[in-house]
């Protein structure tokens, strides 16, 4: 459904995205995981026609994103990181304008249905500017779904939201996935990527350094982590990644300090691959 080949973006002499290639299947939920500045948003901008690649190709449903822009735009919708709705307009007016821009036939009933599905029907006539952060994010999703896109791009869909609102947004994303949409999302929340996505691509400094299912990514580095507190009182913790539980217990026995054995997570994968933290 989505294919990139050596996707590259330079801003002046700075390389924001460096030869990124991946393939996303129809109906798949795929996450680009990485810290701020890894190139996630730039990649989304190129995939959604907002930014032209310096080099490389993007195909969505076998259409070249640069050559067949208008056809691609009909297939995709974007939920951006920044609330890009018209602040002075009401929730309904925002939806109506979006529906008109995308040529939605008889948008009225569809708007009502989408607002209802996203729990925004009561806010129909509220000015978008005064909605809470969570409501604004719902409005962006409701808008994006109005054109019934085949592919939905979500750029950091839960950034800056309270934990309970974040979980509500996750439920919405799960529902969208269950309706068969292909979803590409960016996130720097490990838990989010792990819970929602079929596959994950790890971006670091503009390069895609790993791509696989969450399970395989963890298996590839080792299933368990032994956390060993530093004996010199610095407060640091050393992480030792082990292939299996037996190796982890053996490592723990060799240590003089109190250690913690836990299953490996994507944060461990990220640190192992890049030497950085994802969530900064």
């Amino acid at each position: 459904m989505i294919r990139t080949e050596n996707l590259t973006k330079y801003y002046g002499s700075k390389c924001a995205v460096n030869s990124v290639s991946f393939n996303i299947r129809k109906g798949e939920v795929f996450a680009l995981l990485g810290p701020n500045g890894a190139g996630k948003t730039t990649t989304i901008k190129m995939l959604t026609t907002l930014s032209r690649p310096t080099e490389g190709k993007i195909f969505i449903n076998n259409l070249d994103v640069v050559v067949d822009q208008l056809k691609v735009k009909r297939l995709v919708a974007v939920v951006p990181q920044v609330g890009n709705f018209d602040r002075e307009l009401s929730v309904y007016e925002n939806m109506l304008v979006y529906g008109m821009l995308y040529g939605v036939k008889e948008p009225g009933p569809k708007i009502e249905k989408n607002l209802d599905a996203l729990g925004l029907l009561k806010e129909r006539d509220t000015i978008a500017e005064v909605l809470s952060g969570g409501m604004q994010r719902r409005l962006l999703i409701a808008k994006a779904l109005l054109s019934e896109p085949d592919v939905l791009f979500l750029d950091e869909p839960t950034v800056g939201l309270d934990p309970h609102v974040r979980r509500e947004i996750w439920d919405i994303i799960r529902n969208i996935r269950n309706n068969g949409k292909t979803i590409l999302m960016t996130t720097h929340y490990i838990e989010e990527a792990e819970m929602l996505c079929d596959r994950i691509g790890i971006l670091s400094h503009g390069s895609l350094i790993a791509i696989d299912t969450p399970g395989n990514l963890k298996d590839n580095i080792g299933r368990y982590v032994v956390e060993i507190p530093s004996s010199n009182g610095s407060g640091r913790t050393e992480r030792v990644i082990c292939r299996d539980r037996a190796e982890a217990e053996e490592t723990a026995r060799r240590s003089d300090n109190r250690v913690v054995i836990r299953p490996a997570n994507l944060e461990d994968v990220f640190i192992q691959l890049t030497g950085e933290m994802v969530e900064g």
Binding site: T49, L50, S51, L70, K73, E88, M100, L101, G103
Partner: protein, 245 residues
């Protein structure tokens, strides 16, 4: 009619702004003040080329108002939407051809500028009981609105920071308002200044808006305004087509 959703969006946003004092003051206060102050101060005493000053001033201020409003409202809306609120990106990412987006924005600029000019025309009628316009005047006004709306799109897409809008306005639009024959005939200016004025589109609008009929004298102004409008429109459409962040 692909342009209509873009036009409709701009009009919805404009409707909300219309009721705000900020819009009324920034768009209409100065032109009305100029009209009242210059008109009352000089109107009865000064004659220009055989006509009263009021009859000279009202079309000039109407042209100036159409320029400042169509240009400023389009460039501000576009640059703020693009750089600050990111709402212009919704339009850019929609499956509308670039010419449709350009047409929708320019039409909205025409309406915004025309409304402001209408206030000046009405003010002239009510305060001075003067209506110094012909059909050619309205053709001039329309061309002026198309030209400066298109220029607003080009400026709105080219500026890198919202505050750059003021640079374009202060160094290009405002001097043009004063030196293109709005308040006094350009014939009285030094030759060197007149040479520069020949390159200012508002100068040709002022000739057209004060013309009574289609004659040989209006061919050049119409041609210049048409040529500049088409050039700016095509530039704006191309900038939209090639938009990239």
């Amino acid at each position: 009619m692909n342009w209509y959703p873009v036009f409709y969006r701009e009009m919805l946003l404009f409707k909300k702004k219309l009721c705000k004092l900020g819009y009324v003051f920034s768009s209409l206060l100065f032109p009305v003040l100029y009209l009242v102050a210059f008109g009352m101060g000089l109107g009865r005493r000064v004659n220009i080329e055989g006509t009263g000053y009021i009859e000279f001033l009202i079309p000039g201020i109407a042209a100036m108002t159409s320029m400042t409003n169509s240009y400023n409202l389009v460039s501000n809306s576009l640059s703020m939407g693009r750089l600050f609120f990111k709402s212009f990106q919704v339009v850019i990412q929609s499956p509308l051809p670039h010419f449709s987006i350009m047409t929708g924005i320019v039409f909205s600029g025409i309406v915004k500028g025309a409304l402001a000019s209408a206030v000046i025309v009405l003010a002239g009628l009510i305060i001075f009981r003067a209506f110094p316009f012909s059909l050619v005047s309205f053709l001039g006004l329309l061309l002026n609105l198309i030209l400066f709306s298109s220029m607003g799109v080009v400026a709105g897409l080219l500026i890198r920071y919202p505050e750059d809008n003021a640079i374009y306005t202060n160094f290009f639009i405002m001097p043009m308002a004063f030196f293109s024959g709005t308040f006094f005939p350009v014939d009285n200016l030094p030759a060197a200044v007149k040479g520069i004025i020949m390159f200012l589109p508002l100068h040709y609008t002022n000739i057209l808006i004060r013309s009574d009929e289609l004659s040989k004298e209006v061919i050049l102004p119409i041609s210049v305004l048409l040529a500049v409008s088409i050039t700016l429109f095509l530039c704006g459409a191309k900038l939209i087509k090639n938009y990239s962040e």
